[in-house]
Amino acid sequence: MSEELPYGWLQFARNRFKRQQKPRGEKRKTPVWSWVWYILGVLYFVLPLLATFEFSLRMKRGVYSLAAYKAAFADPAFLQAFGYSLTLAAITIIVSIILVVPTAYWIRLKLPQARRPVELITLLPFVIPAIILVFGLIRIYSSPIRLPFSSVVLIDALTTSRYGTIILIVAGYMVLGLPYMYRSVDTGMRTVDVRTLTEAAQSLGANWFNIMVRVILPNIRTALLSGALLTFAIVVGEVVLASYLGVPAFGPYLFLLGQHRAFEPAALTFITFLLTWAAMGIIQLVSGGQGQVSGAH
């Protein structure tokens, strides 16, 4: 009898538990484990940011102050580097839009067969990490590209001049942002059904330019903003292309700062986080969607 008792007790407990397993009504049990995972996850997210913020406040001995932030912003090199990166980001975004929007539009409307190869190409940047991309770019463009078997120069050596280097890095940034820009624009066009829009506009007598600028672009605004913000985040944080191509962008600046100072880099890191959060938050708000997926660099 006594040996059966534990087993019996187990049965009894399991039956009671089973009854609670099948919620006939709306009785929801508290998802304890879900809360546990969530809180742990949030902690992992938040701790490094908290630590960075706390560290950035410690510049003045023994007291919390914003001295690190003041010092970081007071450095003229910071404004130069950040401004430079912003300008590069602007150029990259504009050229990307000019390249991607007509292409996506054309594919949707006229050339569905090109979809597969184009999508494959937009996946390539995932396969070719930035370090390899810059390697290839430098090797190819450090000497002029000639027509085979002739001395006709098609493209001059890009790495040897300031403007050439800028072309290279903008192209590099465009490549890095291509998957997100293309996917964004393509999804946006799918949502607004460009075919119908085009036909409607054509029936009202619009020419191609008007269709593109006054009908299509405004309707994919959200997608463009998403793509633009992601490209912005990528460009501003980018370090690899900028340092190997010798461009005075924000990424190398931040890296260098970390070599010599302790508190200002922490301050700038925190600001970078806030900026990224603002960009992502805006994307979320405006697209009301899943949030864009980006990879590591």
Binding site: S142, R162, Q259
Partner: protein, 372 residues
């Protein structure tokens, strides 16, 4: 829906405004005009490309800024944390490249001067103050010339490590476990090579025999005290490399920049003052040779030399400056006393360099790499 549209428009406006504002950077002042043909030629080139010049090394920050404002040139700074070996590699790698990746001028350890000359990487140039540079630290043909020197020391972050080492052998103390770091990769960096060389003097080595230095660092590595990171001031401040082996001027400049947080101190090892000389040179493949020459004239002018003094370095023309009483009193007061320092000769340096760079891997085996 309306709020969404409003937010969208506001954001777009903000984004555009940011870009527009960023594009309008600080306006560069008009380049000061000059009648000097060298200055004119340099201004025509417009840029100087330097390499491996951290701003807090011998006050290069002020030197570069002064140079920029004085002559209206841009300075393109490459790889500020490179070692002497990296600088030489950069010249070699960019022989055919006249772009912004090719350095015009280099500032390397004493032994790297003749070795670069032997590899035909340098262009000769004798500055106007050539004669006041001591003969023992310059190349007779003008390919390279000494610029400044200091002595090897320890920079200690006393907030993290209150026990301050007084001499080389103190570094073997278990209290410094995982806390000691060199300031470069001993296979490439002059500073690190000299550190190894200097440590030998405290362990039975002489200026002609640097092997004991290698053996000493093998011991430090085995004791677990050596961190495989290249120490820099940022790391010392963060407490990651509390004991940094570096030149005294770097340590003193670091203390200035820390401004008390963290507290730090510079100690010159009791064994003795070990001096290290650096030399300047112009790349034979310099894309901007005139800017390079102008830079040299600037550095070797009284103004340039005193800027280095402010960075706690002893400029190579120091005796000449002092003889003519042109050193400001406050600068003269702050510069550390390095009397009695031992100066290895070029031959001794060459022997030590080949031994240390060649045997580091096999004897010590620590892979020293750059850090954040």
């Amino acid at each position: 829906m309306h709020t969404k549209k409003l937010i969208f428009n506001l954001v777009t406006l903000l984004v555009i405004a940011t870009f527009v504002l960023s594009a309008c950077g600080p306006k560069k002042g008009a380049a000061p005009s000059s009648n000097d043909p060298l200055v004119k030629a340099a201004q025509a080139e417009g840029t100087l490309t330097t390499i491996a010049l951290p701003h807090d090394w011998c006050n290069y920050g002020e030197a570069i800024d002064t140079f920029k404002t004085k002559y209206g040139l841009e300075v393109n700074e490459l790889n500020p944390d490179g070692g002497s070996g990296d600088e030489v590699e950069a010249i070699k790698a960019n022989k055919d490249n006249k772009g912004p990746q090719a350095p015009d001028v280099i500032d390397v350890g004493f032994a790297f001067g003749p070795s670069s000359k032997a590899e035909n990487l340098l262009m000769p140039y004798k500055v106007s103050t050539w004669d006041t540079i001591p003969a023992t630290v310059k190349d007779a043909d003008g390919y390279w010339y000494g610029d400044y020197y200091g002595v090897m020391a320890f920079l200690v972050n006393t907030d993290v490590q209150s026990k301050v080492p007084q001499d080389w052998n103190d570094l073997l103390d278990p209290a410094y476990k995982g806390q000691v770091a060199l300031s470069g990769d001993p296979r490439v960096s002059n500073q690190a090579i000299q550190a190894v060389f200097a440590s030998g003097l405290a362990n039975g080595g002489t200026l002609d025999n640097s092997q004991p230095g290698l053996d000493f660092f093998a011991k430090v590595q085995q004791a677990g005290n050596l961190i495989p990171l290249i120490a820099n001031n940022g790391l010392v401040a963060k407490g990651e490399t509390p004991v940094r082996i570096t030149w005294d001027y770097n340590g003193l400049a670091a203390i200035d920049s820390f401004a008390g947080n963290p507290a730090a101190t510079v100690v010159i090892p009791k064994t003795g003052r070990f001096a290290g000389v650096y030399v300047q040179a112009i790349s034979a493949y310099a894309p901007h040779p005139n800017a390079a020459k102008l830079w040299m004239e600037f550095l070797y002018s009284d103004e340039g030399q005193i800027i280095w003094m402010k960075g706690y370095c002893h400029p190579i023309r120091e005796s000449d400056l002092r003889a003519r009483n042109v050193v400001p009193a406050d600068v003269a007061a702050k510069i550390p006393d390095v009397s009695g320092a031992v100066f290895p000769t070029l031959d001794q340096l060459n022997t030590a360099k080949s031994l240390i760079t060649g045997s580091w891997d096999s004897v010590v085996g620590a892979d020293i790499k750059k850090a954040p």
